[in-house]
Amino acid sequence: MIQTQWALIQRELWEHRAILIVPIVILLIEALGSLVGQVTVSTAHQTVDIALLSAANLSETQRAGAINLIMVAVSILFVMAMGVLTIFYALDSLYAERKDKSILFWRSMPVTDAETVVSKLATTVIVIPVVTFIAIIATQLIVLIISSVWVAAEGANAWQLIWTAVPFVDNWSSIFILLLALAIWMSPFIGWFLFVSAFTKRSPFLMAFLPFIVVPMLERIFFGTWLFGQMLLNRVPFNVPIFGGIGDPETMFDDDSEFLALLESGVSLLSLIDVPGFLADPDVWLGMIVCGLLSFAAIYVRRFRDES
């Protein structure tokens, strides 16, 4: 069972090499960016000057805050890439094999349709977040090494100023939890994409996104309500119920947001993460149920559809 899943997931990575290549490219870009001296992150409208870390007159709190900002800033591009990769991967995963006619070859192997679909679900919900996590850690380390060289060149003690100041365990565990929480929070969409990918005869992208526009419109016209649209708007990545309700998610990354203020105060990232609250949220479980049902539908379609 495990060996089969392992082989199937490896197969997914062979076919969809972007899952590994995109994070590596981002890593290189960010390393290069930090080499130039700063990490620029458009969404956060923040420019964090690494030279800041060497300033001897920074207080402990200010330094911790600056480090927090750098760590988060490094992660944001990866998290966005994770979203895009997941969408493209999921939509392609059960469509490409039908388009290139290899599905009958895959089905000639002793693997059930359920095992196949589960491997694709696992790739989106586990593999892509884990790869993203590893890439984020590697990038953070590279950025910190470059900063250290910078700081050392300024004549300061990089070890003391940076390496003992970064709360690695705190930082990494919070990022890991956040990535998995995001994948689980967005999983109903993943299930939907898998289903469309298994079902559609053409243009999976269009088939997947068109209903998001058409269904709310029809609902508005015929019922005068706005429930589906509201549901969609509610389930965006920023709404992931993991932060225990700090600040307003919509303004989380505005310049004057509470969230940024919190980060700058050098707060422990892990202290912002509320796992019990996440698990107690009925919306989280509802999402997982929807994802499960749609994945079941994808298995059913792959099993019963006769391509001829």
Partner: protein
């Protein structure tokens, strides 16, 4: 239980088209059965039912399993090559071996590598870089290295040139086939497989019109080449089909004593292609 495949009243309908219509047959171990039929006769549909790739009505048991419900177990003991089941173009030869090795309990990687060593296929190449003939060689090498009981081939040599086709069947017989293994094959190029077959099934309009062992054909079928009055006389004996070759009449008979025909002209056993035309066209006439 010596029947490997046992079908009883198997039907499959697509919309209003009855692709396979109440078909019953048995395939025994160690046989090479040719399933012959025109385009759209239901060959591929029937094979798909056998392989568990489509659901159907009726009863079908393959290696004692229900193919549609137990596809995974079945696929451990069945291999198939079809022109519609192409290898994924993005995969590398090495990756393909890695994958099958991890997935398939009856696959011997060493054997596959030996077989591939006899070809010009580089292990680092992607499938898209190989010629169509090489892709078929690759597929056959992998399948030969699987210790499977039943091999199903659906137009395996379609689109290949004659050298690859000959080599394909030579490898099939030399490397793959033994008395423990069974092959079910369809192809348009009947002449090429005629000598390999131990059994033959004709299918037309979703129905089986002939199901016989090859060595019983000479007893049951005979072709008479005759002219003039002799031909006229032979026509009274209910031939199933008649055609004209070089101004002479060629009449095909079913279950007629050869001694009754000998004096009328030259006798011979029809080859598969002629017999097929006789059975299908004769039934239509």
């Amino acid at each position: 239980m010596s029947s490997l495949v046992s079908a009883s009243g198997v039907s499959k309908t697509y919309g209003s088209v009855r692709a396979v219509d109440n078909v019953s047959f048995e395939i025994e171990k160690g046989r090479i059965t040719g399933l012959i039929g025109p385009n759209g006769a239901g060959k591929t549909t029937l094979l798909k039912a056998v392989l568990g790739l489509t659901d159907f009505e009726g009863e079908l048991s393959v290696l004692g399993l229900d193919p549609f419900r137990q596809r995974k177990e079945l696929m451990q003991n069945i291999c198939f090559i079809a022109d519609v089941a192409v290898l994924p173009r993005w995969i590398r030869v090495r990756q393909l071996l890695d994958f099958v090795e991890a997935i398939h309990p009856r696959f011997t990687r060493k054997r596959a590598e030996e077989l591939l060593g006899e070809t010009k296929i580089p292990s680092g190449a992607k499938v898209r870089e190989l010629s169509k003939g090489m892709v078929t060689q690759l597929h056959l090498s992998i399948i030969t290295a699987v210790d499977a009981t039943l091999l199903v081939l659906d137009e395996p040599t379609l689109g290949l040139d004659i050298i690859f086709r000959k080599e394909f069947y030579r490898n099939l017989l030399n490397d793959y086939f033994d008395e423990e293994r069974t092959i079910l094959i369809t192809t348009h190029q009947v002449e090429e497989i005629e000598n390999l077959l131990s059994d033959v099934m004709f299918i037309n309009d979703g129905r089986i019109v002939l199901d016989a062992a090859m060595d019983t054909l000479p007893e049951r079928y005979v072709e008479l080449m005759a002219a003039g009055e002799a031909a006229e006389k032979a026509r009274q004996m209910n031939p199933i089909f008649e055609r004209e070759v070089f101004g002479k009449r060629v009449l095909t008979f079913e279950d007629v004593e050869r001694t009754d025909l000998e004096e009328l002209g030259e006798l011979r056993t029809p080859d598969i292609a002629d017999l097929f035309v006789a059975k299908v066209k004769g039934a239509a006439a």
